[in-house]
């Protein structure tokens, strides 16, 4: 088997790895993005609060603070060009007691030090005038107008797609499990025996980053998984709050929030539980109760009755109280992008920038590509005018066939989702790209049709169509 040679191998296609690959795709160096799953964004990036934080939370002077504020600015700058759903709705940290009032003043001070724009402390009256559904116990709030909500998935799918369109090889189902050295290069081997060669390995493996580092003899950090559980409420609750509503941060995270999602539903969560198993993404009855009881302190009318789905995510806690970003002391061909806990989603674009800066600083001569194209456009039928819709349908009748009734998704869009760069390979991949199956009926109606489209487009039998790769088959072999 031919072994391909790269300058850079990025391990992990979460937000950190995808933006690193995106930044590297601006240069002529050859890069691959190795992902152990069947799709991008299958780790922490898949399931989180999807908040683009303003940056008043991290300790001033830390990488976390710097990259949070820079990441926030980059998201605001790039989201249109790369078609990443983002709404700059602003966030409130609300104070419900004396301690809370102290805390929001402290956050205000920190924010100023971190260079966050537009922060403002609001009185009780100002807060309730904007957010009438908040608890009457509210004393005031810290407003951060640069905060917003995004599609967490698109935050890594978009850069992965641009990277692939600009020459990066996205290699799926490649679980890095062995590393050796041939003098010039690292030989990076997957669990199934495939091998790539690379000069530098950039380790953005999320909760598994410590295991990848160990393959290089680096055991300087250990990732502790911490689970957070959420529920999503029906979009008829969409008007409940207009801003991201945080309670003051607690020891284990940013506390329970209530927030609009970028699609107009309401998100409630997350909890924070340290767990043993890094991939134990279960939801529990107890966790859901904690989330709702917590949420009702902010917004008393939040109700379990409106839940359409619940999920959980795993935070990769690095234990160093800051991101772990830089060349490994154990092996100079390993660059760790690890311990990327919250606000890692926000920081993603800045993390990519930072990695490339460090590579250049450390003597890697990178040459800009003349023909890099950073634009990306996703076609969303729902957002077109009638004339545009008719034009598209005339050109391609598949845009006139609605497959998902809850979210009004056409067959044409599903086909596009499979065919585009870093495209969908399974049911969840389609759902995450075009929302088919995301609505009230959770795929009950469109599921069988989506399965058929995937089978047709990838030219595989129905029994090989999966929910999310691996052994997640949908129907039996005939």
């Amino acid at each position: 088997m031919e072994i391909k040679t790269y300058d850079f191998a990025v391990v992990g296609a979460g937000v950190s790895g995808a933006w690193t690959a995106y930044e590297l795709s601006k240069y002529t160096a050859k890069t691959c993005l190795l992902e152990k799953e069947n799709d991008v964004a299958m780790g922490a990036t898949k399931a989180n609060s999807a908040i683009i934080h303003a940056g008043y939370d991290p300790v001033p002077g830390s990488l976390m603070a710097k990259l949070n504020v820079r990441g926030n600015a980059l998201v605001r700058e790039l989201h249109e060009k790369m078609d990443i759903p983002f709404r700059q709705i602003g966030s409130y940290v609300i104070a419900l007691n004396d301690e809370g009032e102290e805390k929001i003043k402290e956050l205000y001070e920190r924010g100023i030090k971190n260079g966050v724009e537009g922060l403002k402390l609001l009185s009780k009256e100002e807060t309730l005038a904007e957010e009438p559904n908040l608890s009457d116990d509210v004393r005031g709030a810290l407003l951060a107008p640069t905060a917003g909500v995004c599609s967490a998935f698109e935050m890594s799918c978009a850069p992965a797609e641009v990277a692939e369109n600009n020459g990066v090889d996205l290699i799926r189902n490649f679980a890095v499990s062995k590393v050796s050295d041939d003098g010039d290069y690292k030989l990076v081997e997957a669990a199934d025996g495939r091998v790539v060669r690379a000069r530098v390995v950039i380790n953005a493996a999320g909760v598994h980053a410590d295991e990848v580092a160990k393959l290089f003899g680096d055991d300087s950090f250990k990732i502790i998984p911490r689970r957070g559980e959420y529920s999503i409420l029906d979009n008829n609750c969409g008007g409940l709050v207009k801003h991201v509503i945080f309670q003051p941060p607690v020891k284990f995270g940013k506390g329970i929030l209530v927030s609009p999602t970028v699609d107009g539903n309401i998100l409630v969560g997350p909890t924070a539980d340290n767990i043993d198993d890094k991939d134990d993404k279960i939801t529990t009855g107890a966790g859901q109760k904690v989330a709702f009881d917590g949420a009702r302190k902010s917004v008393p009318t939040v109700s379990e009755r409106d839940v359409i789905t619940s999920f959980s995510g795993i935070r990769p806690i690095g234990g160093k109280e800051d991101f772990i970003l830089g060349f490994s002391d154990a092996d100079k061909s390993l660059f760790n992008v690890s311990g990327i806990e919250s606000p890692g989603l926000t920081a993603g674009p800045a993390v990519g920038e930072y990695v490339v800066e460090q590579l250049i600083k450390n003597g890697y001569a990178l040459e800009k590509k003349a023909d890099f194209d950073g634009n990306r456009k996703v076609f969303r039928f729902n957002e077109l005018s009638d004339e545009e819709k008719n034009e598209y349908i005339k050109k391609n009748p598949l845009y006139g066939r609605i497959i998902c009734r809850c979210e009004t998704v056409t067959e044409g869009e599903i086909v596009d989702a499979v065919r585009r760069g870093a495209g969908a390979r399974d049911m969840d991949g389609v759902k995450r790209r075009v929302r088919a199956g995301m609505g009230r009926c959770q795929g009950g109606f469109c599921g069988p049709k989506v399965m058929e489209i995937i089978s047709r487009e990838l030219n595989i039998p129905m029994s090989e169509v999966t929910k999310f790769g691996g052994g997640s088959w949908m129907v039996e072999k005939d």
Binding site: G285, F311, N390, I402, T408, G443, G444, P448, M462
Partner: protein, 325 residues
């Protein structure tokens, strides 16, 4: 494209077909049925088992046979149909927006509208069962579609949650197709399904029905590997210590139906919190004048025969409305 009609019927299942035919019988000329599927007949097309029509036709038919009777009657009239066409929304002044591959966006102005979009199934999210998110969890109706229309088996080792009729019928169907159905688990102390379905679909095949039991956790990282069930107390809360693990690769949910409200909501039609369908202001009229509703979109029916009977009345009401306005 725009169209003008007297009566527009949204949904070509048994409810819509009966209502449209009744409008025609009452002298309404210009009637249009809009159906998103390629065929008329609605959910009946996937109900290939017998048990339909005992009340209306006095004989036992399968779902597709029952539907065919109405499709044949329709063929003898000049009622127009637009199939493979999805209705996107309805405005309070009765303009329907729909889309299909041939015509693009279509706007249909109607003097009266009959809503007959049927219902949807409740899902796992609404039940809030804890655990992992593997493949292999289907609603019973989706499984019915896969097996009866598409010809695929969702799995071999099956647990059914909820004892609604569709779940009972699927217990038999999956068994006949070679699957092992390990049991049906119902949270209530008694099944919501018809007596005859319990006898013919479970008892006759030795499939146990467990009452007052619910699912507390789903297991399996990629594909379902098992499910934990537990007995519930009088408040339907699981009783600690009664948990039992059952190995399976497939979980079918038959835990209730909810009227399809997307289009109704777009017109601002008032929804009844009890039936979860449009408020019936008498004679199948909704809160928006000239908009009527019948069949499962109005409230969930057990028997198609009753859907037909009520939909005839709704069709008559819509015809009367046009004559009087």
């Amino acid at each position: 494209m725009t169209m003008n009609v007297d009566v527009a019927v949204i949904g070509g299942g048994p409810a819509g077909l009966a209502a449209a035919l009744e409008c025609r019988k009452n002298g309404i000329e210009n009637i249009l049925i809009i159906e998103r599927d390629k065929q008329l007949g609605g959910i009946l097309n996937q109900c290939i088992h017998p048990g339909f029509g005992l009340h209306v036709f006095g004989e036992e038919l399968t779902g597709p046979e029952y539907a065919q009777r109405y499709i044949n009657m329709l063929a003898e009239t000049d009622i127009k149909t637009l199939t493979d066409t999805m209705v996107l929304s309805l405005s309070p002044d009765k303009v329907i927006r729909a889309v299909n591959s041939e015509l693009g966006i279509v706007e249909i102005s109607a003097k009266a509208v009959i809503l007959s979009m049927g219902c949807r199934e409740r899902t796992r999210g609404m039940l809030r069962i804890s655990g992992t998110r593997p493949s292999g969890i289907y609603t019973a109706g989706t499984a019915q579609r896969l097996v009866n229309i598409e010809g695929y088996m969702p799995g071999k080792n099956v647990v059914i949650l909820g004892s609604g009729d569709i779940g009972l019928i699927m217990a038999r169907r999956m068994t006949l197709e070679g699957a092992k159905v390990k049991g049906v688990y119902e949270i209530m102390p008694k099944s919501g399904g018809l007596r005859r379905n319990i006898v013919q679909c479970l008892d006759d095949f030795g499939i146990p029905l467990h009452l007052s039991k619910t699912a507390v956790e789903i297991h399996g990282r990629e594909r379902v590997e098992g499910i934990t069930v537990a007995s519930v107390d009088e408040n339907l809360a699981p009783i600690a210590g009664t948990e039992e693990y059952i190995e399976c690769d497939t979980v079918l949910l038959s835990v209730g139906l909810i009227p399809e409200n997307e289009v109704s909501r777009s017109a601002g039609i008032e929804i009844d919190p009890k039936t979860r369908g449009p408020v019936n202001n008498g004679n199948f009229s909704t809160s928006v004048p000239g908009v009527f509703a019948c069949g499962n979109v109005l409230k969930v029916y057990d028997l198609v025969d009753n859907v037909t009977k009520d939909s005839v009345l709704a069709g008559k009401a819509a015809a009367d409305y046009i004559k009087n306005n």
